[in-house]
């Protein structure tokens, strides 16, 4: 008998119902591969949600650099030697596939963030936000719902998925992208958010944003993996808090939104 298809083995390792063809149990080779893949799944599921890596405190780098006797800033940065500039050097380097030459771009991006955060006043902001929400709503209307409604899972059902997009008002985040998937299961509604955005000093925080564009409820932080699954707070009127927003927050103890939105989108809920 032929060996189990490798892709099917991966699904068996995930415990997906109806995938086990009965072959692996009697085949040492397939069994060994299945054991290895299953051990990965076991580590991943040893916590109910993905583990979030923690950012070290900002001053740790300068202590390390001082003790090791290396410069606190990499060549090509212009600035104060803060670790957030080093982070940006690496981010630009990784994106371009050439870490050693990313310094100047990284440093200038930091400057861009600082300048642009002051932008955005009054009614302009409201219109841009509204436009972004309409674009997202159009994307949702374009067909995602049809596929989603057909889903039937005994315990967890995805009820909606939506792209999170940057706002024109915050050009420093123009390359950021995100996805939000809403699922309903035994523990109520959960939204899983993933963000494609550069590593920056601070952390990304996910918010429910009300229609008035002002009231917000924090859902929690995205870790360094830029992914998080959050319980939807019970009792919140989702027709009012109808949008998701991601901000970059500084480690300064502030519990309010840092003003600059990274990405935003309509909350994917069933209707």
């Amino acid at each position: 008998m032929a060996h189990t298809d490798p892709e099917r083995l991966a699904l068996i390792a995930l415990g997906e119902p109806g995938t086990d063809d009965g072959h692996a149990a009697g085949c040492p080779q397939c069994q060994e591969e299945l054991r290895q893949l299953s051990s990965v799944v076991a580590v991943a599921r040893s916590t109910p949600e993905p583990v979030q890596l923690e950012m070290p405190p900002a001053d740790l780098w300068s202590r390390i650099a001082a003790e090791a006797g290396v410069p606190t800033e990499a060549r090509g940065t212009n600035g104060s030697g803060e670790i957030h500039e080093l982070r940006d050097v690496g981010g630009a380097g990784a994106a371009g596939g050439a870490g050693a030459t990313g310094g100047v771009d990284g440093a200038s991006e930091v400057g861009g963030v600082g300048r642009a955060e002051g932008v955005g006043r009054g009614r302009t902001r409201g219109r841009v936000w509204l436009a972004a929400a309409l674009i997202v709503a159009a994307a949702v209307g374009a067909g995602i719902w049809g596929g989603v409604h057909a889903l039937t899972s005994p315990r967890t059902t995805v009820v909606g998925q939506v792209a999170l997009k940057p706002l024109a008002e915050f050009p420093q985040w123009s390359t950021a992208r995100g996805t939000a998937v809403m699922a309903t299961g035994p523990h109520g509604n959960q939204v899983t958010v993933t963000l494609d955005a550069p590593d920056r000093a601070g952390f990304y925080e996910v918010w429910l944003l009300a229609r008035d564009g002002r009231s917000m409820i924090s859902l929690g932080d995205l870790g360094t993996g830029h992914t998080g699954t959050f319980d939807m707070p019970p009792g919140v009127d989702l027709s009012t808090y109808s949008r998701l927003d991601v901000s970059l927050q500084a480690y300064n103890g502030s519990t309010v939104h840092a003003k600059a939105s990274v990405v935003r989108g309509a909350l994917p809920v069933s209707r």
Partner: protein
């Protein structure tokens, strides 16, 4: 994908490029710090330990042999050793205090070796998940943490079934490779 960039950092580090430690720290600082934080509990101990790890790595960079393993695996091994040292020191201190006072003292937080393996595995996995691009990351997140089948994931994300299946397999293999290199079990 990222192994190319990470490899460049490792090569510069091996050569002793003074800027390279910053890049090593920027890339793997959260990994080392989170390992220390979860194993030791207090932020202060975790910061001290992470500092020891990066300083020790820098001073012994000559002993890092890329032929024998990737840089994050080497850093993780240093971190594990220092965590184990710290936990042993805590146990000795607890025993000393207990011996001196002849009464049970409040339990010092310690971690059995098996538990440390589990902590390392979880955090190394989280680090590798963070390196995935899209749609690989979203696919594997849904596969791990929801009960969706691959067909449902395909429908949800609007991706072909074959793409979802091949991403699931390749991502599991990638995670397995990383866990074998850095993880708590070998």
């Amino acid at each position: 994908m990222d192994s190319g960039a990470d490899g460049g950092i490792a090569a510069a580090f091996r050569k002793g490029d003074p800027d390279s430690l910053a890049r090593v720290y920027q890339r793997w600082g959260p990994l080392v710090y989170t390992l220390a934080r979860r194993a030791l509990g207090t932020p202060e101990d975790a910061e001290d330990l992470a500092q020891q790890v990066f300083v020790a790595a820098w001073r012994s960079r000559d002993t890092f042999d890329p032929e024998r393993g990737a840089l994050p695996a080497w850093l993780t091994a240093i971190t594990r050793n220092k965590i184990a040292d710290q936990l042993r020191a805590r146990q000795r201190e607890a025993a000393r205090v207990q011996g001196a006072t002849q009464e049970a003292v409040q339990e010092t937080p310690t971690l059995a070796p098996d538990d440390l393996d589990q902590v390392v595995n979880r955090i190394v996995l989280a680090d590798e998940l963070g390196q995935l691009g899209e749609p690989q990351r979203m696919i594997i997140m849904l596969a791990f943490y929801t009960d969706l089948t691959h067909e449902q994931i395909s429908a949800t994300l609007g991706l072909p079934l074959g793409t979802v299946k091949s991403h699931i397999r390749r991502t599991l293999l990638r995670l397995r490779t990383r866990l074998e290199a850095d993880g708590g079990t070998h």
